[in-house]
């Protein structure tokens, strides 16, 4: 086995009571590409930030080549040999390639920048990466992939021993990814250690030697890539046992009995460039359809197209057999579509307005600015839903920002339910809320279904999707990879689909 480059032992880090990392170990060897995998909130970025000195760690030890280190800033980390290339390319487009590579450490002569030395050192850095480009041209004249490689050249110029690549491929096309991978292998063969953070499963199998999986801030395990089947990787990321998941626990949802019914929502070749590849699916009245997939697979993007929040660039949407333009959220609402968005804080609550005002907002918007809901009616609606959904609030006039996450979520649900929509889209309705409220929301979904509402249910928790949905549409890398219903529907099958090759 090759030499151990970096060792992190028992690293913990908490933010205001939330344990982001709990006694995590991580080992990187020289001459390997090591994937760091995990869902949103698994602790990947926290681990990297602790390693690069962005966040101080609470406990644990870090050794680089056997020497204990404790970087206090990204710069200090860089000087000890830990370089990072971030997702967004942060080069200065107007400056030349050479200037970008040498920025912040320009060689000087007599207090002036030594341009000759600067250009020759930059040329050397590019040569080490076998990059044949002109260092005197502005960075902006090159493709994104080349720019990404220039960032790598910059990161490597200081005697780097290891390189962290944080989602480097998210803005590159296939050919550019291949170029980047060539470069990564090249660096590995020169004895560097590379940490590769991505959520593209195929890329992990294409280029890495080893995988470390994190979940909920804890280490799940470290595996040689060749010995970990894709299905097992997905299962570990989602915290499911790939075998046990075969037998799905009790389902709340009844078996699909509505397949003969005319669909309420019919989506054909619906897509948006750069967000989601064209896909088809249908939802009937009284049916809950789940959208499953890993983070970044295109679930929210799909929901936003149906909710009128984004414009589609291809395909058609039919509601009750009539084509729907859905050019704005207001247009979607008028057709009976409600959208509970994933980001409660940014896209949901109006923080300083009261619970009552937040609750009646969509209904008032639908009525128009001139036909104000009578005060009595507003109070009745607020009182009704506070009771029906058991919203814990001192009064209907309390600013919604004073409520807990789960109760805010219930107010937002009420905002949509009082419109009695035909279709409700729930994007991660249970994220970040406590177990009790979670169960209540799941139960609510089932009762809405029984009343004949169509539901599009999005969740990162497979168990929840399987429990509440009749059918599940599975997405991977911005495209639909399959659909499961009836007896086929299980966590295991979904994971298999997520992991499958095309």
């Amino acid at each position: 086995m090759s030499e151990v480059l970096l060792q992190m032992r028992g690293v913990s880090k908490g933010f205001r009571g939330v344990q982001a990392l709990q006694k995590v170990d991580f080992t990187l060897r020289a001459g390997e590409i090591h994937a760091l995998m995990g869902e949103n909130g698994a602790g990947k970025s926290t681990l990297i930030k602790v390693l690069t000195g962005v966040h101080p760690r609470d406990s644990g030890e870090i050794f680089l080549l056997g020497k204990k280190i404790s970087p206090q800033s990204p710069r200090e980390a860089e000087e000890t040999g830990i370089s990072t290339v971030y997702q967004e390319i942060n080069l200065i487009p107007e400056l030349s390639v050479a200037e970008n590579i040498m920025i912040g450490r320009q060689p000087r002569r007599l207090g002036m920048i030594d341009w000759k030395a600067l250009n020759s050192r930059a040329r050397g850095a590019l040569k080490r990466l076998d990059l044949d480009i002109d260092p005197s041209r502005p960075v902006s004249s090159y493709s994104l992939a080349i720019q990404q490689m220039v960032s790598i050249a910059r990161a490597l110029d200081v005697n780097a021993k290891m390189l962290i690549l944080d989602e480097p491929t998210s803005s590159l096309d296939e050919k550019e990814v291949a170029e980047l991978f060539k470069l990564m292998r090249n660096l590995r063969d020169k004895g560097l250690g590379l940490v590769f953070v991505t959520h593209f499963l195929d890329q992990v199998y294409a280029v890495t030697d080893r995988i470390t999986v994190l979940r909920n801030g804890e280490l799940v395990g470290e595996y040689p890539t060749a010995e970990l089947p894709k299905l097992d990787l997905v299962a570990r990321m989602l915290g499911r046992d790939p075998v046990a998941a075969e037998h799905t626990p009790e389902r709340i949802a009844a078996a699909a009995g509505t397949s003969a019914a005319k669909p309420l929502l019919k989506v054909r070749q619906l897509g948006r460039k750069g967000a989601i590849e064209p896909l088809d699916f249908e939802i009937a009245r009284g049916e809950v359809v789940g959208l499953a997939g890993l983070l970044g697979s295109g679930r929210t993007e799909t929901a936003r197209l149906i909710a009128g929040a984004d414009r589609r660039t291809s395909g058609s949407i039919e509601i009750d057999g009539h084509p729907a333009a859905l050019s704005s959220p207001a247009a979607a609402i008028n057709l009976g579509i409600a959208f509970l968005s994933e980001d409660r804080k940014k896209e949901g609550i109006i923080p300083t307005l009261s619970v009552r005002e937040n609750l009646i907002l969509a209904m008032q918007a639908k009525r128009g600015v001139l036909r104000q809901l009578p005060a009595r009616k507003q109070e009745e609606l607020a009182a009704h839903y506070i009771k029906a959904l058991r919203i814990k609030t001192p009064s209907a006039e309390t600013p919604i920002q004073n409520l807990s996450g789960g109760n805010q979520q219930k107010v937002l649900l009420a905002r949509w339910l009082c419109l009695q929509p035909k279709l409700i889209i729930l994007d991660e309705p249970t994220r970040g809320i406590d177990v009790g409220a979670k169960a209540e929301i799941e139960k609510l979904v089932e009762s809405l279904r029984q009343e004949g509402m169509a539901v599009l249910f999005i969740s990162s928790e497979l168990e929840e999707v399987v429990r509440t949905s009749q059918r599940v549409v599975v997405l991977r890398d911005h495209r639909k990879v399959g659909e499961l219903g009836g007896p086929e529907l299980s966590e295991h099958q979904i994971m298999k689909m997520i992991a499958s090759h095309e």
Binding site: F15, R16, G217, A330, G348, L353, L361, V369
Partner: protein, 359 residues
């Protein structure tokens, strides 16, 4: 994951709040209301005048109309009040309108030129003023709502542009205005009260009704507080923004008419100069927060009064008008500090035995 933290922390707070908020003392409720502090400042000033400035409260009846220092304060404050009404709504959406002073100049120049050169009648002049305001408001509003230009930049452009247009219209020379309708708006009396005071009160009443008896007020606050969420809830956020800038320009146009009616002449390089700053100050002192959200029109009117009273009191006390801005600034800072939820909470705690548990 990060959601779990605040949630755990918030739980006990809510229960604590419930205990206290169900029966807050009447004192604390007054202390918590937005217009309280500017009103308190105003009261303090008037109290000072009561003891140290005899004659301040004198009201005389001349030609059947009321006159006196108090009434002149109100008259001087009227211009800022008109503008502040529009500015309040703009600020509530999270924007700002720097062009109001220039709108006044354009409207003034236009009205004076049409009256002097083309002998247009009063109603036609009002129509022209409204038309000019509409055009400018739509220009500001579309730049901000549809082209996505920052409010401060869009209206700054109009501030510079408008002043130039006003000078071009009149050729840079002051004009006198003798139209009876315009003069009536500025100098006339109605039921013994100056028409401009009646007008500003009517305008305030109309704006309040329009905001609170329709959903406009709710939508404006909602867009200012969280535009994305408002849009997703079906509110036409762009339309709302367009509307408030048009309304702001119309408010400025009325302010211009009242002012030129009062002084009887138009100086396009001076009319409305720096008035946007007074209006913004009045709004902020009145209790509407610059970052948008909740607004109070009444607070803005009180804010305008407070600033004008302060200026008058200082000048009556013999302070040179060049130095007057210094104590004015101090008072404004004090009022703003008093409005910060943190300080206000501590004060309320002192007076009402009510402790705010949230920040």
């Amino acid at each position: 994951m990060s959601n779990a933290g605040p949630q755990l922390e918030e739980r006990p707070k809510i229960q604590e709040r419930r205990k206290t908020e169900e029966r807050p003392g009447i004192g604390s409720r007054i202390l918590q209301s937005r217009p309280f502090w500017p009103l308190a400042g105003l009261g303090l000033l008037l109290g000072y005048c009561f003891f140290f400035d005899p004659g301040f409260f004198d009201i005389a009846i001349r030609d059947g109309n009321l006159h006196g220092p108090i009434l002149s304060i109100v008259r001087f404050a009227v211009m800022v009040m008109f503008i502040a009404i529009g500015m309040t709504l703009v600020i509530s959406t999270g924007g700002v309108d720097l062009s109001v002073g220039s709108v006044m100049a354009v409207v003034g120049a236009l009205v004076a030129t049409l009256a002097v050169k083309y002998q247009l009648s009063g109603p036609a002049l009002l129509g022209a003023a409204a038309g000019a305001a509409l055009v400018i408001g739509l220009f500001n509003g579309s730049l901000i709502a549809y082209a996505g230009v920052q409010p401060i930049i869009a209206t700054l452009i109009m501030m510079v542009l408008g002043r130039g247009v006003a000078l071009a219209i009149t050729g840079g020379i002051p004009l006198s205005v003798q139209d009876p309708l315009v003069l009536f708006m500025g100098k006339g009396h109605f039921l013994g009260l100056p028409v401009q005071i009646v007008l500003v009160l009517a305008f305030f009443a109309l704006a309040s009704l329009a905001c609170r008896k329709t959903a406009a007020g709710l939508f404006i606050e909602s867009v200012g507080d969280n535009e994305t969420a408002s849009r997703l809830s079906g509110i036409n956020a762009r339309g709302i923004k367009l509307l408030v800038y048009v309304f702001s320009a119309i408010c400025a146009a009325v302010a211009a008419l009242v002012y030129i009616g009062d002084v009887g002449r138009v100086e396009p390089d001076q009319l409305g100069l720096l008035l946007e700053l007074d209006a913004i100050t009045a709004v902020v002192v009145g209790g509407t927060v610059l970052t948008g959200g909740r607004f109070t029109l009444l607070g803005s009117l009180i804010g305008a009064l407070l600033i004008q009273t302060l200026t008058t009191v200082l000048i009556r006390a013999g302070m040179p008008s060049d130095v007057a801005p210094v104590p004015k600034a101090l008072v404004i800072i004090t009022v703003c500090l008093m409005q910060s939820p943190k300080l206000r909470g501590q004060f309320a705690g002192l007076f009402g035995g009510f402790r705010r548990t949230t920040t």
